[in-house]
Symmetry: C2
Subunit: 338 residues, 2 copies
């Protein structure tokens, strides 16, 4: 059962829930904007349902989160200790630092550790590209994914993304390096549904279709030995921030950001036009027989967002809305921190 | 038929050939060292046979190459016009600039365009990691590879590589983003051998096993839609140097280098140990049933090189050695620039 929410209601619900979970107003707005953007772009795993996961994670923490601290900084670099705060807030702080430094000096590297749920990297890269910058973001996490040829978790689901400024829309590529998303396995475990063959191993190292067994074992990596190597690279990039190679539970993810201002290499305006022309040449590639138009990354989610903004509403599972309303105190004041 | 060459004979043959092709002594040594390293590491496509391809490309050029020029530079960045010189020489110049700037400031971005045959990126990254740096290198090229779902070339075979300092050996991942290597298609065309299914399309857009038809059409991309996106990213990184989106023939490849000194984020010595421990944890992962030990990228080629260095010789196809000796003037003085 899905519930239709207006965009302003959805935003208010997310903001209130995050405020009730202990965030200051500005932080709650940062988180809500990120969650809403995922809903608008048709990525519900990172949307309002994630808001519930954030509340659960905050409630389960042994200690209160600390402040976000800059633990190392130069003109072109910074490293943050996220204070065990949610990654949406830490990530935006890291991004703002990276944008400022790259605009001033042409390139920057900014890391963050001791954080969790860092969100959709395309969200950050869209903001970086709007500032005229190109960049890469990679994020390490708990060891739930096995390397190619192995059956034990050694790294996280490890997203990596690149973005390039272009008009009218940036060129953004944002992937996870695991064969299946964590949220998808969690959802299937809840629904009693099967995984697809090749997506996971159980705790004894045998292939499994059972999501509960997969959560005790390891997920497979995407892309064979090449993809497995990329997943390792992402873990090593995250570890450069000081994040653990195998952090316990949902904690100590490493966020690694490099931004480049194309003007230090070439004419920025010309480059933006060339990126757009390249994207157009991809869309116009002759398709395989019987195939549809060739797709450019990010196009589909931008179209989805435009449609949602026109419509003015999103569809969210009723169970998610009910639980969020309870947390937000709309139906009960005894919830969240009660 | 293979010929056994001592390492010093192989190096002398490569150096002499490159000198005869018009390179100064120092440049010839740079190229020879790179070609030899590929032979030692068991990557013969990039070895002595490539030396012949370099000579052919120089001979086919309409104009003499120009000097390598720095066309843009800041404290943390540089962009080079390679003057249509071979990429092995341009790449080393770019790498040296990138290493110097990253060591001084913590991060650097260096590009190069108007060059060709940029070699094995792991070669450059091994040198960067020896200087204590981590980094990424990506290289764009002529539009011989089709995007996922398409049948026309839109980007090059587009290698991308990452390297991390570690003791005793660095952690280096170096892949091509096409389903088949250019050299492999060329070789099969020469031998009259078939490609594997799914590796290429002919000029009319239909799948083909015929390497000659593939050279008139397009190669497939690696890794489905995710890999296709990565190949596009590499092309856009290369284009940031000013390299063309679709350069004609073997020309105007774009080389994009970012190096980071881990010390700006974390304790360098500790990070090196953690990279080594992570690699070891990968090797020790419980394998899939019936499978061998899980592999770490670069391990196999390092072992291959150590074995070749112990042996003191390499095996090279007799036709390659004969042709190189002709170019080097060992059997005929009338060759190269005759």
């Amino acid at each position: 059962m899905m519930t239709t929410l207006t965009l302003s209601d959805a935003r208010a619900l997310a903001t209130t829930t995050m405020t009730r979970a202990g965030h200051a107003a500005k932080e709650a707005e940062i988180i809500a904007d990120h969650l809403l953007d995922c809903e608008l772009r048709g990525l519900p795993f990172g949307g309002l349902a994630r808001g519930l996961a954030i509340v659960e994670r905050i409630r389960a923490a042994q200690e209160s989160p600390g402040p976000i601290r800059v633990v190392a900084e130069t003109a072109v670099s910074a490293n943050l200790d996220g204070g065990d705060q949610v990654g949406y807030v830490v990530g935006m702080r890291a991004l703002e630092l990276a944008i400022g430094k790259a605009r001033e000096h042409g390139i920057s590297v900014v890391g963050a550790r001791n954080t969790w749920y860092t969100g959709m990297f395309s969200y950050y890269l869209e903001k970086a590209t709007q500032a005229g910058l190109a960049g890469m973001i990679a994020g390490s996490g708990p060891a739930v994914v096995a390397p190619h040829g192995g059956t034990e978790g050694r790294f996280g689901t490890n997203p990596i993304a690149f973005g390039f400024p272009s008009t009218p829309a940036p060129f953004i590529w944002d992937i996870g390096t695991s064969a299946v998303m964590y949220g998808e396995v969690m959802l299937k475990a809840r629904l009693g549904a099967d995984l697809e063959p090749g997506q996971a191993y159980d705790g004894t190292g045998f292939p499994t279709l059972d999501p509960a067994a997969a959560l005790e074992g390891a997920f497979s990596v995407w892309g064979g030995h090449k993809g497995s190597g990329l997943a390792m690279i992402v873990q090593l990039l995250g570890m450069m921030t000081g994040a653990a190679a195998e952090p316990p539970g949902v904690s100590d993810c490493g966020l690694f950001i490099v931004l480049v201002d194309p003007r230090v290499l070439t004419d920025s305006a010309d480059y933006r036009r060339r990126v757009a022309a390249f994207a157009e040449s991809i869309r116009e590639t002759r398709p395989v027989e019987g195939g549809g138009a060739v797709r450019v990354p990010f196009d589909r989610s931008v179209a989805c967002r435009e449609e949602a903004l026109r419509r003015g509403t999103i569809e969210v599972p009723e169970t998610v809305v009910t639980a969020l309303r309870r947390e937000a105190g709309h139906t009960s004041r005894g919830g969240a921190h009660g």
